[in-house]
């Protein structure tokens, strides 16, 4: 049974990798590539957030702040202080992880939804800093002139080159998440969601695991933020406001809590949707709210799994032959 799932998962990963390689060759429209790059960045954030929400059952409304921390740390350290870009991406992840630890440690020790409140407050504070510390961050008008990432002489300065860069990272984030989910740690996280008390009496240090997965998900967001900053080469506080936090939580729920591929699916679906609704930005927020509500009421397992089980129910029903009278 398990080996079967594993084999199928590997097959899906191979198809996914092939799609990443082939898409830029097949798709020549630059706009589509840009949208897919945004999907890739969101996928990294959402895959990490899904580990927290879908597996450990803890909710964060502050992932825009961690995404923003990654972006601003990379931008400021490389542009203002001349740090080398690649090590700075790692450094930003470590710093963001430490910040997440200090936010998560006290609030996760308390029972109940204190993490939601703490992360909500934290993300607002971070956004205020981005706006007000204009000497360092550029303030509301943003931070320009960030260098592109490069490997040797290859500079990731076009949308197509960044496609490969972003999706390589997205691929490895998905792979790492799949590894984690099918492991001792992944089971312990699911157990926390299933019954925290039972998990604890079986030897799982539930407080520590919750903090650790929160830190891990913040580091995923930081990585995406750094990639974003080096790709667009301009960032502003508006990219990292509270609305983005809501959006990534919505992606997790729409994609299906507790499914790594669901996270990718949710990120794709909602990124495309918000692109379509871009003309009327106000409707965007309303649409997100309506989708979130509808999914939670009618498809609580997420859109993909929900539609799949609806299909299965339909298939079973069509197999039942009505009783015949002799």
């Amino acid at each position: 049974m398990f080996s079967f799932i594993k084999k199928r998962e590997i097959l899906v990963l191979v198809i996914f990798a092939l799609a990443i390689i082939l898409i830029p060759i097949a798709v020549k429209n630059k706009y589509y590539i840009i949208v897919m790059n945004v999907i890739g960045l969101n996928t990294i954030v959402v895959v990490g957030l899904n580990l927290l929400i879908g597996f450990a059952g803890q909710i964060s409304l502050g992932h825009a702040a961690f995404y923003g921390l990654g972006a601003y740390l990379s931008a400021i350290l490389t542009t203002t202080y001349g740090f080398p870009p690649w090590p700075t991406v790692v450094l930003a992840m470590i710093i963001t992880g430490m910040v997440a630890y200090f936010v998560g440690y006290p609030s996760l020790k308390l029972k109940g939804h204190y993490l939601v409140m703490a992360t909500l407050g934290f993300s607002i504070i971070v956004n205020i800093f981005m706006v007000e510390l204009d000497q360092i961050t550029g303030g509301p008008s943003g931070f320009p002139g960030i260098p592109h990432l490069s490997i040797g002489r290859l500079v990731f300065d076009s949308d197509f080159k960044n496609f490969y860069l972003i999706w390589t990272f997205a691929f490895f984030c998905i792979l790492a998440s799949l590894n984690l989910v099918n492991s001792r740690v992944g089971r312990a996280l699911k157990a926390i969601d299933g019954s925290e008390i039972a998990a604890n009496t079986l030897g799982v240090d539930t407080d520590r695991y919750k903090v650790k997965v929160f830190v891990l998900s913040a580091m995923f967001a930081s990585l995406a933020g750094s990639l974003y900053a080096h790709y667009i080469v301009f960032i502003s506080p508006r990219n990292f406001d509270f609305y983005y936090s809501i959006q990534v939580v919505t992606m997790v729920i729409v994609g299906g809590m507790g499914s790594v591929w669901g996270a990718f699916f949710g990120a794709s679906l909602l990124t495309v949707l918000s692109e379509i609704l871009h003309v009327a930005e106000k409707f965007n927020i309303i649409a997100n709210g309506v989708i979130l509500t509808l999914v939670l009421i009618f498809l609580p397992e997420g859109v993909a799994m929900g539609l799949f089980s609806l299909y299965q129910r339909w298939k079973i029903r069509s197999l039942i032959v009505p009783p015949q009278k002799n």
């Binding site: 049974m1 398990f2 790492a176 590894n179 984690l180 099918n182 492991s183 001792r184 740690v185 992944g186 089971r187 312990a188 699911k190 157990a191 969601d193 299933g194 019954s195 008390i197 039972a198 998990a199 604890n200 009496t201 079986l202 030897g203 799982v204 240090d205 539930t206 650790k212 891990l216 507790g258």
Partner: protein, 256 residues
């Protein structure tokens, strides 16, 4: 009785919840490799006693020692590492996981892989996964659940969910297991099977504390019984001694 015969010692334990005394100066010695039952009317403090032993909350005063080491005040996961696991009166099966995965969580303390090695799926993790899976299946086989290993645990019938909780607790290789009403809601045949199972666990060299209302079961297999009423110990002894105790009869049947 020498000291080493006693595996768990509860000494003058009190527990207060917002001004209400749930346990009142309770002491209990649990002997190694025996079945010790705790009985009493509803609200007598039986589950509270188990919660104190497993560290769900600390006692207001008093001391609990396990193999000579003080465990009262420790967090549940630390106490379980000492070798005490339990089942729950209201089932706490991980409904979101498969039957096998439930048991694999029980093996958590037997394994080491942490976040980084799991993310990278190091060869060490691979090896550990394999042994954990085999171990998990062998425990499921012991409890006659191996055919349903890949089932989502919420799909199991009630009686099997109860067995799964025991499987999960046994997976942690405990020295002592606490069973909170394992026979509640079971039919006569299932109760017989449960009492056989508990005896088998005893044969494995595991000490047992049993909280139960089904008297046939308790009287049939217990080595020692403690009777609680309104948070106080009112009697203690062998099944025969307890059955004859006038205070116990009064607590259960009222004054004659």
């Amino acid at each position: 009785m020498s000291y080493s015969d006693v595996i768990l010692r509860v000494e003058k334990v009190w527990k207060e919840f917002g001004g209400i005394l749930a346990l009142y100066d309770v002491s209990l010695d649990v002997k190694r490799n025996e079945i010790t039952a705790i009985i009493g009317p509803n609200g007598a403090g039986k589950t509270t006693t188990l919660n104190l032993i497993t560290g769900i909350y600390p006692p207001t005063s008093g001391k609990i020692t396990f193999e000579g080491k003080v465990i009262s005040g420790l967090k549940p996961f630390r106490i379980s590492a000492q070798g005490i696991t339990r089942t729950f009166q209201n089932l706490q099966v991980f409904q979101n996981m498969s039957v096998l995965e439930n048991v694999m969580v029980g093996l958590h303390t037997q394994t080491q892989s942490e976040f980084l090695s799991c993310l990278l799926h190091l060869p060490r993790v691979k090896k550990e996964e394999k042994t954990v899976k085999e171990e998990g299946y062998s425990i499921l086989r012991f409890l006659n659940l191996e055919k349903k290993g890949h089932w989502l645990s919420s799909g199991l019938p009630y009686g099997e969910q109860k067995r799964l909780e025991i499987a999960r607790a046994l997976a942690a290789k405990p020295k002592m297991i606490l069973l909170d009403e394992p026979a509640a809601g079971l039919n006569a045949k299932e109760i017989d099977e449960m009492s056989e199972l508990i005896l088998k666990i005893k044969e494995m060299g595991i000490s047992i504390i049993l909280v139960e209302h089904v008297m046939n079961l308790v009287m049939g297999i217990s080595d020692k019984i403690m009777v609680l009423n309104y948070g106080q110990k009112i009697s203690e002894g062998t099944p025969k001694e307890v059955q004859r105790d006038s205070q116990v009869i009064q607590a259960y049947l009222g004054k004659g």
